[in-house]
């Protein structure tokens, strides 16, 4: 029961995060997003994904490219970074939002950056 409540709570949190972020991203937002995505102590996306000019990238996940075409709906992209296990329970991608690895604000900056790829 307690667990159920927490899940519901998280879902609401995630939803409000998404609607709040439709404003156009500034260059500063994009730069911050790249920093968060590349840094080992934050997103560390390069551990698994080839993307942009990232060096020493891992090969566990698919290359992140053409994000605008592939994710016309920002909410979908947000949800995947928030918790990929919702889409694929077996995935090894960390549930960045659900496990508080990144805040919703940080995930939104990363998404601002992903849309430039």
């Amino acid at each position: 029961m307690r667990k159920r409540l927490i899940y519901v709570g998280l879902a609401t949190l995630a939803l409000s995060a998404m609607s709040a972020s439709v404003v156009a991203a500034s260059q500063a937002d994009i730069d911050r997003g790249k920093e968060l995505a590349f840094s080992r102590k934050d997103g560390n996306c390069l551990a698994c994904h080839k993307m942009d000019d990232g060096k020493l990238t891992g090969t566990i996940g698919p290359e992140l490219a053409n994000m605008k075409t592939r994710y016309p709906d920002r909410n979908v992209l947000f949800k995947r970074v928030w918790d990929e296990t919702q889409f694929n329970p077996q995935t090894v991608m960390p549930p960045f939002g659900r496990h508080s690895i990144l805040s919703k604000e940080e995930i939104n900056r990363i998404i601002d950056y992903l849309y430039t790829l």
Binding site: K3, L10, T57, G58, T59, I60, P89, V92, P94, S100
Partner: protein, 280 residues
């Protein structure tokens, strides 16, 4: 991290996913399924090669590694281990008195399940139990003297196939299952199980590290890692892999890590002992 978030992590960490791999009806079925699974994943790698971990999977890395084998960095530690092994305790007895065959050529039988004590006995634990039985203080478990002694003992088993037994005792099977469950449980803020990396993704790169398969992993321990600049035990590596996913590492030789070693080494039955070795 706020306390609420931590509570959520703990709750979620309890959810367990066991993929079909290694989900056999008994340990031997698990082992055979694992061998089959990794053979299919790496059809060109001969079974015995799995003891070389990442070096079995990448020709460039292997060539680099082999070029460094003329003067292995653990040689001195093994010689020291031999000397300690042969030096009598204050009571005049030696380590040899505690082990079958005087401790020579027995590494492949560890860990084993002690049916009287109802627990898994690893080689390092047996070394310390021997010391304590002879009035000596136990050694620290992750590095230093214990790694040197264990490395020397492993070197006397070079090439012998692992022969881990699970006696017909529900407690032994439970210890094995507990280790298996540990291997497949997601943990830590980053939500990985051991299997996420070493069953699902061996052969793939995680940043600049090449992931090794579960099969053969314990064979080369204790290991000299360039990162450590010295020898370390298997439980030191377990703790490192736990920390990397931001999970709290457990104490070396805790019941959980011993059960984990029991499961993991059972998977490597039939593969040769090659420790000590070197890794990045």
């Amino acid at each position: 991290m706020p306390r609420a978030a931590k509570t959520i992590l703990v709750i979620i960490g309890a959810v367990l996913v066991i993929p079909s791999v290694l989900a056999g009806v008994n340990p031997e079925a698990d082992r055979k399924a694992a061998v089959e699974y990794f053979k299919q994943m790496f059809p060109k790698v001969p079974l015995k090669e799995f003891v070389n971990g990442q070096y079995a999977l990448d020709a460039d890395r292997r060539a680099q590694w082999q070029s460094l084998q003329d003067f292995p960095p653990y040689e001195f530690a093994v010689a020291e281990g031999k000397e300690m092994f042969e030096t009598p305790f204050a009571n005049g007895k030696t380590y040899a008195s505690c082990f079958e065959n005087g401790g020579i050529g027995i590494r492949q039988n560890y860990p084993y399940f002690d049916e009287d004590k109802k627990e898994v006995i690893t080689l390092e634990l047996a070394i310390n139990q021997c010391r304590e039985a002879n009035g000596e203080k136990p050694l620290k478990y992750k590095k230093g003297d214990i790694a040197s002694i264990s490395a020397y003992m492993a070197s006397t088993s070079d090439g012998k196939p692992f022969n881990i037994r699970i006696p017909d005792d529900p407690a032994a099977l439970a210890a094995y299952q507990n280790g298996k469950k540990f291997y497949y449980s997601r943990r830590g803020q980053l939500n990985f199980s051991c299997a996420s990396c070493h069953v699902k993704n061996p052969g793939k790169w995680i940043r600049a590290d090449l992931l090794s398969p579960a099969l053969g992993q314990p064979s080369n321990f204790p290991v000299h890692r360039s990162k450590w600049g010295e020898l370390g035990t298997l439980h030191r590596r377990f703790a490192g892999c736990n920390k990397n996913v931001r999970a709290k590492p457990l104490p070396a030789q805790s019941t959980e890590y011993r059960d984990l070693e029991y499961f993991l080494t059972y998977m490597s039955n039939g593969l040769p002992v090659v420790g000590p070795s070197t890794r990045p």
